[in-house]
Symmetry: C2
């Protein structure tokens, strides 16, 4: 059921489309065939209208390629507005909702010649309450959240790239659980107009993909950034800080062993690898992130919580109520702590190109009642720098484990190249 | 035609409502009567349904007061989403548009017992292309923009408070031109969910009002900030930096004379007043603000500019096209410059509680073809601190001139109290 077209990277597909060797319509048809075959088990899609996707593809095939996204099908997490498909934000409050405007990232993809394949499942408002998606590697397990559908669809060969968003660990965790590449760019790299805002200070638009260059592709096209120099991956010798983070004890033995076992392999491949300690204030960041985001959730979701309280899950309502208790002074303090830690992380990065840390506490937990813990995402979301998870390890249950590579704010291109270097070193 | 209810401040009205001496329905009816009388000339409202407003007011009158906003009518700039009234963003693209969700600020006002009176006229997407509003002080003149309707409605006794937004000078300029108080809070004081995003890094939600405490009222209630201590205004002796800004030569003679003439009066009232020079990099901020916002406009308005280019004004389209030319590196540089200047402004504020500068280059220009120049707003929008314009001067044509009071980021309460001190000193 997997066509070769399903397995090629977006970068390869773009080259094929540019050379006239691949038709977008055939590619989209292969994606739709894969979805038809697997969707009953995986349930990655919140909304899909094959004819809308095929019509876009046929139109692309009649046009000269406009960018490296031309003709490439892209999944869109259902917290991102689309005019031609419903956008339900993972909430029954928005059943059948049709926005009046495409989100900036969706409209940009269309302008650049991409094909919006469909809307992928999000947890409720991109928070913790799960959607219907299963982990494609083992459907008894969660795909992680909140970008559940995007991670599952990409990992299961349904689409080469999909948009996700991250406020805690919502790109990194599901990518790690499903065995995909996840890329949370530097805060403010990609325009957020048309995302359902939950936490203005943290919500970050990013990508799920199967290769690091594919994840880079959209971010570069949308932000107008120069392409990362993946052609130079072979020539670099990254300075890697091995960062257990203050949450190391929450990683299971297999995750700890996988990360620690990678270090000699990275050294052998030519990297300098040194442990990096984050100071005590970093250990407060999990709480800081909860306080900051809850204060913002309480306000951003005022309409929903006052008008449709019964349509909000208990877990989200509890989080919102917590936000009502956060005073303005406490909220301001969260920003001050974050700023201080960002400055100290900038200092750390004088000596390290990237830091290496776990992507999640372990393999995807069994069951769909929880999407797992965001433990290893929150620090890097709050620090605002680029974070990439690489599907380079396998856990004891045969499910994927990720390695997370993070870099200094604004250094997305260099961080992506270093991540690709690490991926290659650990894939040999 | 002006009822006493029209002339009371929101603070006075709130006290009357809390004491059971004023009914919200009577107050809203007085607002509607004033609007009926003046709207043909002023045209401040984009959408108004008297029955919707009155229904809310009657409901409030049956409830125990929930906050200092209880029963108070509030105008909402039409770039802010409302579910019960159309939201057209000042653009024909969105004619009749009905959002699915109230903006956070609107839902918060409702929760706190406020009455959403109606939608006020915005320029096109809160940029430069004018709406239909006239200056209530002289209808041959512009009210300024982009919060044109909010400024005109408040100044003309139609409503005590209205929401505005500012990306360049869109609260400060129309408030100054119409003779209202304008308050642009610290960036990120008020939640922006449900605003039409143009420039994520600059768009700021704020207020137009007739008194400084009224402007403070909503910001405090929505952000959960402790009330500014206006009861202590009489006891402070503010350290005022007189800041001509690098754009002083663009202020007309009357504006320069009004500001300079105020200095001895402020000193006499007990303030320390010293000139403050901003260094050369501050002189680049007008250009920096254009580059930063244009890069963001180009992306945020992708749907509109690709789907409805003919429904976008020439002036906005030119600005958008300019944004397409700003490279990512240039955009990143604008943030670096802004950060450097913010840090230097923090240093300056060690010696000054507030800075005093012009609010606009002069009186409201004649004619409705332009909303005037944002010259004296852009620096403070980019600096992210609180800015308040006070209607304390009159120009040679008998139109209002404002004095702008700005403070350090996050010091909204202190800045508002100092602004009130200055207003009183200059009103004697």
């Amino acid at each position: 059921m997997i066509d070769k077209l399903n397995t090629l990277s977006a970068t390869e597909l773009a080259a094929g489309i540019a050379a006239g060797k691949i038709q977008s319509e055939a590619l989209v048809a292969a994606c739709l065939a894969r979805i038809r075959a697997r969707e009953p088990e995986v349930a990655a899609w919140a909304h899909l209208e094959p004819e809308i996707a095929l019509r876009q593809a046929r139109e692309r095939d009649r046009q000269a390629p406009r960018s490296r996204l031309h003709g490439i099908p892209i999944g869109v997490k259902d917290v991102i507005d689309t005019t031609d498909m419903p956008t339900e934000y993972g909430s029954p409050i928005y059943k059948g909702h049709r926005p009046a405007c495409d989100a900036a990232c969706v409209a940009q993809v269309r302008e650049l010649g991409g094909v919006i394949l469909g809307k992928t499942v999000s947890t409720e408002f991109a928070t913790r309450h799960p959607g219907k998606t299963h982990n494609p590697r083992n459907t008894q397990h969660t795909p992680g959240g909140s970008s559940s559908g995007s991670a599952a669809a990409v990992a299961d060969w349904m689409v080469p790239i999909a948009f996700g968003t991250q406020t805690s660990a919502s790109i990194i965790r599901p990518a790690a659980y499903c065995g995909a590449v996840g890329y949370k760019p530097t805060f403010n790299l990609l325009n957020r107009a048309g995302l359902k805002f939950l936490s203005e200070s943290l919500d970050t638009l990013g990508m799920l993909a199967r290769t690091v260059p594919d994840a880079a592709l959209i971010a570069e096209e949308l932000s107008g950034s120069p392409p990362a120099r993946f052609d130079e991956v072979g020539a670099i010798k990254p300075r890697i800080g091995f960062c257990r983070t203050p949450y190391w004890s929450q990683a299971d033995a297999a995750t700890q062993a996988a990360l620690e076992g990678a270090l000699p392999r990275l050294s052998k491949a030519g990297a300098s690898v040194t442990p990096v300690e984050l100071d005590a204030e970093f250990a407060t960041l999990a709480d800081v992130q909860i306080r900051m985001s809850s204060y913002e959730f309480y306000r951003a979701l005022t309409y929903e919580r006052t008008r449709f309280p019964k349509l909000i899950s208990d877990s989200l309502m509890q989080r919102i109520r917590g936000g009502a208790q956060v005073t303005r002074a406490q909220y301001v303090e969260t920003h001050e702590i974050a700023q201080r830690c960002r400055a100290r992380l900038d200092d750390i990065h004088r000596n390290y190109d990237v830091l290496l840390s776990p992507s999640a506490p372990g393999e995807a937990p069994r069951g769909l009642a929880s999407t797992g813990e965001p433990t290893f995402g929150v620090t890097w979301t709050l620090m605002h720098g680029p974070a990439i998870t690489l599907p380079v390890f396998t856990g004891p249950k045969g499910l994927p484990l990720g390695a997370q590579v993070t870099g200094p704010r604004g250094s997305d291109a260099r961080t992506l190249v270093a991540a690709e270097w690490i991926r290659r070193a650990l894939s040999n």
